[in-house]
């Protein structure tokens, strides 16, 4: 049984470190949508395309991973009741990672696969190793483990695997040495990244944050435990078999295992939502709940892709990637940011003044109405993009990407409003 507590505590690191990561990630999200809009003509085609690779890395590294780093620096100390091992390392890591992301994105854009690409990949690896080291050292001080901690520990393991696989891929582009197919190895890199690293974090943190925001308690956590073992075993299986050429047979075991694990996670989320005390969902929770729905749809799509000859239906992989990054992750991140950032800023600036002078309510920290419009725009953009990718209609893509871009502007406007308070 997890006791829901607050997202800030005596163990939290200084606010300036966390906010730095958040601001960089928000900038990346706007940039990502701008690039997507500008290079829409490149999007219809095979996913192994410089522009797509570049944009994907703005999304995965600059936006998703950047925000996860910041959120974990805030949440791990709170959830596991320890101080962060080193705040200095968290600070250094930020700059190394930022330079690495910019370098990597630049190299993919111009398809410069030489020295600069390798340096960027090494910088990114360095940042991720610093992060892993910092978090593992923090873990050693933990006295009381809980299910969220277990998920986060697994996430760190997969982050290291992702980083190493990414580095090998980057070197392989310029100096081929990987014996198996580059695209198959890329498949491994992507799945460990999304299921192992990102989703482990998402799930672990979900078990903590959703009960906290919806005031839900008194439910069993059985599904969360099942999900953990299913997904991790499945993932380890997939990583192993992908090193061999013939993957068909074992795929039938491991892929459904992961899908089932994700289904268990979604059942657990459903139980948490069902037990909530606050029935009304605000903007942040509306985004989040639809993100879980999108995760379900994406998982079905991913399972289908694993069993059909996707090489011939090239836009299916694109749709799959788009659903992961926008439907599931961006939706969830935006929703959670609308809950976390106002609280952190509020706590930082106003908590000492309550009762002594007038302070704003949490919902007055940003324009909730605007956030709701952002939600509708985003849903329209996702449906529009998926349809346009399916039927390869360029006009549809332009309109959808434009809607998503407007949504990203609304989101960043709201975030800036909160930060400037």
């Amino acid at each position: 049984m997890i006791q829901s507590s607050s997202i800030a505590s005596a163990y939290s690191p200084p606010f300036r470190i966390v906010s730095k990561y958040f601001i960089a990630a928000i900038v990346a999200f706007v940039t990502l949508n701008l690039f997507l809009l500008l290079s829409h003509s490149n999007i219809i085609g095979h996913h192994f395309n410089p522009k797509i690779l570049s944009i994907t890395h703005i999304a995965t590294l600059g936006w998703v991973t950047m925000i996860i780093f910041g959120a974990l620096f805030q949440l791990i100390p709170v959830v596991l009741e320890v101080n962060l091992f080193s705040e200095v390392l968290a600070e250094i890591q930020f700059w190394i990672f930022l330079i690495g992301v910019i370098g990597m994105v630049y190299c993919f854009w111009h398809f410069n696969i030489g020295m600069l690409m390798n340096i960027s990949a090494i910088l990114l690896n360095l940042a991720m190793f610093i992060f892993s080291f910092n978090i593992i050292m923090t873990f050693t001080k933990v006295k009381k483990w809980n299910i969220t901690g277990l998920y986060l520990a697994a996430a760190i393991f997969h982050l290291i695997v992702t980083a190493i696989a990414g580095l090998l891929l980057a070197i392989n582009l310029g100096y081929p040495f990987i014996k198996i197919d580059h695209l198959q190895y890329l498949n491994l890199h992507v799945h460990v990244a999304f299921i192992g690293w990102v989703s482990m974090v998402v799930m672990g943190v979900t078990y903590k944050l959703i009960p906290m925001f919806t005031l839900s308690h008194g439910y069993p956590m059985t599904y969360a435990k099942c999900a953990f073992w299913m997904i991790n075993f499945g993932l380890l299986g997939i990583t192993t078999i992908m090193h061999y050429e013939d993957t068909t047979f074992l795929h039938f075991i491991f892929t459904p295992m992961i899908s089932l694990g994700i289904a268990f996670f979604l059942v657990q989320v459903h139980i948490i939502f069902k037990n909530r005390v606050r029935k009304k969902l605000d903007a942040g929770l509306t985004f989040s709940s639809y993100a879980y729905l999108m995760l379900g749809l994406t998982t079905i799509l991913g399972t289908v892709i694993a069993f059909i000859d996707h090489q011939n239906i090239i836009n299916l992989t694109l749709i799959y990637g788009y659903m992961i990054i926008f439907g599931y992750l961006s939706m969830l991140i935006i929703g959670q940011m609308y809950k976390i950032v106002p609280f952190l800023v509020w706590y930082h600036k106003y908590s000492s003044k309550v009762g002594l002078e007038k302070v704003p309510m949490l919902k007055d920290m940003f324009n909730e109405k605007l956030a709701q419009y952002g939600f509708y725009l985003m849903i329209a953009a996702i449906i529009g993009s998926v349809c346009s990718l399916t039927f390869k209609t360029e006009v549809g893509l332009i309109i959808s990407f434009a809607l998503m871009f407007i949504n990203s502007i609304i989101f960043s406007f709201n975030m800036i409003t909160i930060f400037r308070r």
């Binding site: 005596a10 919806t214 008194g218 005390v277 000492s352 309550v354 949490l362």
Partner: protein, 268 residues
Amino acid sequence: MITKDMKISKMLAEFPQTLEVLINFSPHFNKLNNRILRKTLAGRVNVEQAAGIAGVNLVLLLNELNKAINLNTITNIECENLEEKMEQNQKPEVLLNINQDKIQKLDVRPIIDLGKDPFLEIMAKVKSLKEDEVFHLINSFEPLPLYSVMQSKGFKHWTEKNGNIFNVYFYKDAQSQSYAKQETQNEPTPVHDYENVIELDVRELAAPEPMMKILENISRVDDKTVIAVHHHREPVMLYPKLEERGYSAIANKINDNYFKVVITKKRN
């Protein structure tokens, strides 16, 4: 520097690393691992009393603690107090002659084992005592902080250790009663009968609204008034805010999703 008069809670807040020192020092301190007990009991006990409870040498403990915060001051305090206590082994006459049915027994070990604070139960029991009755408390450690509380209420104590069990008898005699009167005249004592209780139920509010509601009402708390908060979790974030403004809180866990928190004004 950590002194013998420093409250355990203050020490743990300022130097979190000392928790480990305590736990390594004696298994008795394992109880501090429990967050609730740490919050409640540790706020009432100072280092000297803690050493007494665990039955360890105060000077050695202080040296270890100060070492942990990189202070190598060797503490030289006279250990009079420790020896003084040992002398008190003669069973007082009052207790020798008392009729068994005049003894009110309370075993708080199950409460402690549940990780709860038995203080309120003890006080309720004491309040129900008749003038000529004796209160017999059974505990797994010596409840040193309770002695001073009971003293202010006019009780003397006599403690008998039986294996791991401490049998503490609280009784009144002429001497202790006059002491209690003096005490109340000189300075306010830590335990009072409060006249007003403001009940706040924040169980249906999401963070940070419980904190806002509590802090907005905090100015109504005074020497005679307390706030009783019904909370869905332990409000650990609230404690520093209360501390800043001169209030203190005691949380009692009822179950996983229900905590009763009593907020009082600190006395100088």
